[in-house]
């Protein structure tokens, strides 16, 4: 009886440890999103670019797939130069059981006053863990069309 109790206790303990580990991964993805927003507010273009893997895929609306930091930087540089807003919130997280791959889907609020731009969009990040955080290996996004055009 004592043996069964011990095994049950170990199983319970292991289960709790796994649940904690999965929550740590979720927390780290939320922290990553916070960092993205902080860099945007701070107009830290190189900080934003550093969140991407060097060979990250960049798939923006109406354009063919591009790859690498040189394809990514101009969008953030433009927004920073125009005091633009690009606020990301997370709507859905899909994470591999072992935490080696994640997909983050969310809503982007994008505003550039100079161009009277005030829009929302959807972003999808494919992410891989690197060091004590994550790198975006794919960024696919689009702006939402006005309701009457959908």
């Amino acid at each position: 009886m004592r043996f069964i109790s011990t095994v049950a206790a170990l199983a319970l303990s292991a289960g709790m440890a796994l649940a904690d580990a999965k929550q740590d991964v979720i927390d780290s993805l939320n922290a990553f999103n916070d960092l993205f927003n902080e860099y945007t507010v701070a107009k830290n273009v190189e900080g934003l670019v550093s969140l991407y893997a060097e060979d990250a895929l960049w798939i923006e609306q109406n354009k063919p797939l591009a790859q690498g930091h040189d394809a990514i930087r101009p969008t953030f540089a433009f927004l920073a130069s125009k005091n633009g807003v690009n606020d990301h919130s997370i709507d859905k997280l899909v994470v591999a059981d072992d935490g080696s791959l994640a997909v983050m889907v969310g809503t982007a609020i994008v505003k550039v006053e100079e161009f009277n731009l005030d829009t929302t969009g959807t972003f999808l990040f494919v992410m891989k863990p690197e060091g004590d955080s994550w790198k975006i290996v794919t960024d696919m996004w689009h702006q939402h069309q006005p309701q009457e055009q959908q």
Binding site: A17, L18, D20, A21, K22, D24, V25, S28, L57, I59, E60, Q61, N62, K63, P64, L65, D91, K92, V94, V95, A96, D97, D98, G99, S100, L101, A102, V103, V105, T107, T120, T122, L124, V126, K128, P129, G131, D132, S133, V137, T138, M140, H142, Q143, H144, Q145, Q149, Q150
Partner: protein
């Protein structure tokens, strides 16, 4: 540091797998998609999807009722003798083969309504009961010159 420890713990519980097997399986899903279009097999196409699908069509917010959207789209395409072809240009597969992302070119032609387009699709794929299922479908269209 705690994040790294947590990742190590999750990785330690994963079953050993072969990435080559997953690549073969995912290529088979793509082949099944292309075959389903040619054979106008709407049910076969819809069966490639999981029960809960993030459907992210160009210019629209995410719709979590993706299975119904997929059925509607494939019924429309096949009902109008359309042709949609996918290829695979990039595959990301988790080490434990429970999650994958497939990215490639899509060519869509529905001559009866003047559609002749190309773009990029992205599938998020989950291993559900031993089978890869599409749980996220996002795509764009690239205007022709």
């Amino acid at each position: 540091m705690r994040f790294l420890t947590s990742l190590a713990l999750l990785a330690a519980t994963a079953l050993p797998v072969s990435a080559q097997d997953a690549t073969t399986e995912l290529n088979a899903v793509n082949d099944a998609f292309n075959t389903g279009i040619v054979e106008k097999d709407v049910k076969g196409l819809v069966d490639l999807y999981g029960p809960d699908v993030m459907w992210i069509a160009p210019g629209t917010p995410m719709n979590l009722n993706g299975l119904a959207e997929a059925e509607q789209l494939f019924s429309f395409v096949t009902g109008n003798d359309g042709d949609v072809t996918h290829d695979i240009d990039h595959l990301f597969i988790s080490d434990d083969e429970t999650l994958a992302v497939m990215i490639g070119d899509v060519i869509a032609k529905v001559p009866s309504i003047g559609v002749d387009g190309a773009g990029t699709y992205l599938y998020v794929m989950d291993k559900i009961d031993g089978e890869w299922k599409i749980v996220g479908d996002m795509w764009n269209q690239v205007p022709t010159e």
